[in-house]
């Protein structure tokens, strides 16, 4: 456990020492603030229109459903692109710049290395999510968003980010080239994302299966404020699977050299 913490803290510090992390934080913050502003303006326009013409036959507007949920849905798309960029260095870069032997010849198991790297990345990504949370949280000053629903949406975002990070780490364990890792990680995540377009949750077995493996299917439930064991299990399963894959890669490397 000690070794995992040591590696995680080192990784977290290293992320903040790289300009990439700061650039990504800036990009994420800028886009996020812009999207939030657009959604807020739309919300205000709609609410004024409803005030003028009455809301007959239209569902009532809600801050959590009409601003926070779509904003977080949007953040998820940005994270889909950014997390592989943050995760690409984790293992691939250690191999490329040949610092890997210092870690691999230390008394730590491959699982400890993987978990240390993963938690280090997650610590950083939680900072990113914290930044994403700031604009929606300001709405609590001016209105009464549904706390439960907002919390569920954030839980969903954290779980999804965790799965993104684990897949990115797995991609990083496969190569010595961080850019190859970033592209592979992004490709895998995008496939899991767009699987929803092909699938159909009420269709045949295959369509339901394809729909089930997509991130979107499960994330939508969280955005609606629904926390189900099935969706929780899905993200934890993807995360665990990706981490085990990465560990397997490290073990296999010792055999194949």
């Amino acid at each position: 456990m000690n070794a995992i913490g040591t590696i995680a803290f080192r990784e977290w510090r290293t992320l903040f020492l790289s300009p990439l992390a700061w650039v990504l934080l800036a990009a994420m913050g800028g886009i996020n603030a812009y999207v939030h502003q657009v959604l807020l303006n739309e919300f205000l326009e709609n609410s004024m229109r409803m005030g003028m013409f009455g809301g007959a036959g239209v569902p009532p507007l809600s801050i959590s459903a009409d601003i926070i949920a779509p904003a977080l849905g949007n953040s998820a798309v940005i994270l889909l692109m950014l997390v592989p960029l943050m995760a690409m260095r984790l293992i691939a870069d250690e191999k490329r710049r040949e610092s890997w032997p210092a870690l691999a010849s230390s008394p730590v198991t491959p699982m400890q290395i993987i978990l240390g790297k993963y938690f280090g990345l997650m610590l950083f990504l939680l900072v990113v999510i914290g930044m994403v949370a700031l604009p929606p949280l300001t709405l609590f000053l001016f209105g009464k968003p549904d706390v439960g629903r907002v919390a569920a949406a954030f839980l969903g975002l954290i779980l999804m980010t965790s799965a993104f990070g684990a897949v990115g780490l797995a991609a990083s364990s496969m190569t010595k080239n961080p850019f190859v890792a970033a592209v592979a990680g992004f490709g895998a995540l995008l496939m899991l994302w767009i699987a929803a377009w092909m699938g159909d949750p009420s269709g045949g077995l295959l369509e339901r299966a394809v729909s089930y493996i997509s991130f979107v299917t499960h994330f939508e439930n969280f955005l609606k404020g629904v926390i189900s064991t099935g969706d929780l299990a899905y993200y934890l399963f993807i995360t665990a699977l990706a981490l085990l894959f990465a560990r397997q890669r490290l073990m296999a490397e010792r055999l194949s050299g």
């Binding site: 710049r97 040949e98 010849s105 050299g257």
Partner: protein, 318 residues
């Protein structure tokens, strides 16, 4: 004999059909500096990577400080420090941060960590660059930082893979002195193909060629073993006929030359007294008689190349 710190028994490593290591056996005692010689591609780095736990052996056992590397990898690795061919550095860290991180990772307790890092920096001459980023220090300091990380956790065994490659002559001398000093406290396995380095730093030598250990001995022992190959260089003012020399008891091969004749004795024989006596008796006017000992280079070549290859390279040279 002192406690055995590195014990390699029947170690084999294959890469697909290629046999990189073929049943090698090697022992290094506590406090000993063992030179590990061999041409490129002979299996030095493979052996060292297996010892460091980066590669699994295909067959055979490896023990570090009596602990089996396969059964208890973490316990064994805690007693071992490894410097690969290029120092494993984190360029974004300062020298002190880097060593502190690795000391912590290798289980140096918090209260001893600072003194362990200070001591490693002092031994490697890094103290005055402690606060500098690793990416900004010179090649020599990078190499020293690499050695410092291999000893910071006070391991019993230190494995150094070609530690002086790419350094300038002054740095090389300093690093060699450091390695010499490491022996005694640590057991050191040092790979190199620079032979004078072995003479300066090592107690014993193991020579590896084509995945096999072809010799393992003390330096003097190795040279003594090849002493019978040594030749006599003889010069006369009035050189005799070739046959006259050949018939002297104990004389093996005779090569006349302008720089003197090279006379190789038969194994175990010493024709020197007889040569001198005849030279005087028959008036050949002996001017010079020098035993030429085999250099380490020659022994190394003799061990690591087959006769066909030696003839081949002789032809190329001709």
């Amino acid at each position: 004999m002192a406690e055995t710190m590195i014990e390699i028994v029947d170690l084999t490593r294959t890469y697909g059909p290629l046999k990189a290591l073929d049943r090698i056996n090697l022992q290094v005692a506590r406090g000993q500096v063992m030179g590990f010689l061999g041409p490129n591609g002979a299996g030095k780095t493979t052996t060292m990577r297996i010892l460091a736990g980066l590669l699994s052996p295909s067959e055979g056992t490896v023990k570090v400080g009596g602990i089996d590397l396969i059964d208890q990898p973490n316990a064994a690795r805690a007693r071992l420090g490894y410097l690969p061919e290029s120092p494993p550095l984190y360029p974004e860290l300062t020298v002190r941060e880097y060593l502190t991180y690795l000391a912590q990772l290798r289980g140096v307790s918090a209260d001893r960590r600072k003194s362990a890092v200070d001591r490693a920096m002092e031994r490697c001459g890094l103290t005055h660059v402690a606060g500098r980023l690793l990416e900004n220090v010179s090649r020599g300091y990078k190499q020293r930082a690499g050695i410092a990380q291999a000893i910071v956790h006070g391991p019993d065994v230190v494995i150094l893979d070609e530690p002086t490659v790419g350094l300038d002559p002054i740095q090389i001398r300093e690093i060699r002195a450091l390695i010499r000093e490491l022996g005694g406290e640590h057991s050191v396995l040092l790979s190199t193909h620079i032979l004078p380095e072995v003479r300066m730093t090592c107690d014993r030598v193991a020579v590896i060629a084509k995945g096999k250990i072809v010799a393992e001995d003390s330096l003097d022992g190795l040279e003594a073993r090849f002493q019978h190959l040594a030749a006599l260089r003889v010069r006369w003012n009035a050189p005799p006929a070739l046959e006259a020399v050949r018939e002297i008891a104990g004389v093996g091969e005779v090569e006349p030359g302008a720089e003197g004749w090279l006379i190789t004795p038969k194994k175990g024989a010493d024709p020197t007294p007889e040569l001198v006596r005849r030279s005087v008796e028959q008036g050949w006017d002996l001017r010079e008689l020098t035993p030429t000992s085999r250099t380490l280079e020659e022994i190394f070549l003799n061990l690591t190349t087959t006769e066909a290859e030696q003839n081949g390279s002789a032809k190329e040279a001709a």
